[in-house]
Symmetry: C2
Subunit: 165 residues, 2 copies
C-alpha cells in the first residue's frame, strides 16, 4: 500500500511536469519557426504583438524561480515591460534572439532544479502563500504552480500560433 | 505515512479538477458575454469562427465521457462538424443556444460522475489505451485526460477571447 501510493505520488508529478514540458517544447518550436518580422506584428487586430507575448511568457517563467524556491529571477528587468505594463510600441524591448537566450537560461535552470527535487517536495507550499494560508489550502503547493503556468502558457500559445501564415 | 500519501492522492485529483473547473467557468462566462453575431465572426483574419471553436470545445468535452468510462457521447453528431472536419461555412451548425445547452448537459453529467469517483479511480487507464500499453505507460490514466483537456481548453480560450471588443 505504501509502495502503491509512493508510485502514484511520483507519477502525478511526472504527469504535471510532462504537460509543462510538452507545451514548453511547442513554445520553443514556434519561436524557431517565426521570423523577427512576424513577431513584430500583432497576433490579431488591436491585440498584443508576438514580441510582447513572448516576453510575457519568458518573464512569467522567470517568476517561477522565486515561487518554487529555486532562486531569484534571472531577468528581473523584464517584469516592467512584459508583466506590469501593457504592450507599448514606445517601450524598448529585447530582441527575439535575446528573449530566446533568456528562455533557454530560465528553462535550463528549472530543469536542473526539478531533476533534484523529490516528489514530496512538490507538495510543499510555494513562496507566494503564507504558512497559515497553506495549512488551510494545501493545494497551493509548488506542483499547482506548474499546472497553472502550463495552462497560462497554452492560453497564449493559442494566440501566438496566429502569427504563422 | 499511509495517511499522508492518501491525502496527497486526493489533493492532486483536486488540483487537476480545480484547474479544469476554473477554465470551464471562464469558458461559460465567455459564452454568456458574447453575442451570436460576434460568435459568427472569425477570431482573427482567416482563422476559425467563434461558433466553430465553441462547437469544437463542446464536442471534445463530450468525447471525454467515453474516454473516462462515463458513457457514450451525448451528442455524437458534433464530431464530423467540429472535430474531424475543418471550419466550413457551408456546413449547417447548431445555434449558440443549442451548443450552450449541450455543454450544460455534458458538464453536468461529468460533474456527477466525478463526484462519485474515488481518488484512486483517476489513476486507472483511460479507454483509448490498451491494458498492455498502460502497464508500460501508467501516466496514461484518467486524470491525465483532465490535465491535457484543460490545456486544450485554455489554448482555444486564448483565441476565443479575441471576439470580445
Amino acid at each position: 500500500m505504501i509502495n502503491n501510493t509512493a508510485i502514484d505520488s511520483a507519477l502525478f508529478v511526472k504527469m504535471a511536469l510532462s504537460a509543462w514540458q510538452g507545451y514548453n517544447d511547442r513554445f520553443l518550436k514556434l519561436l524557431e519557426s517565426v521570423t523577427a518580422e512576424q513577431l513584430a506584428l500583432q497576433v490579431a487586430p488591436n491585440r498584443n504583438t508576438g514580441v510582447y507575448l513572448i516576453g510575457h511568457l519568458v518573464s512569467v517563467s522567470d517568476g517561477m524561480r522565486p515561487l518554487l524556491g529555486i532562486g531569484d529571477r534571472l531577468y528581473p528587468q523584464l517584469v516592467s515591460t512584459f508583466e506590469t505594463n501593457p504592450d507599448n510600441p514606445d517601450t524598448p524591448k529585447p530582441s527575439v534572439e535575446e528573449l530566446r537566450k533568456y528562455l533557454h537560461d530560465i528553462n535550463q535552470s528549472m530543469s536542473e532544479a526539478f531533476g533534484s527535487m523529490e516528489p514530496e517536495a512538490w507538495f510543499e507550499r510555494h513562496n507566494a502563500v503564507s504558512a497559515e494560508d497553506f495549512a488551510k489550502e494545501p493545494h497551493r503547493n509548488k506542483l499547482n504552480i506548474i499546472i497553472n503556468r502550463t495552462n497560462h502558457l497554452s492560453y497564449h500559445l493559442g494566440q501566438l500560433i496566429f502569427l504563422k501564415r
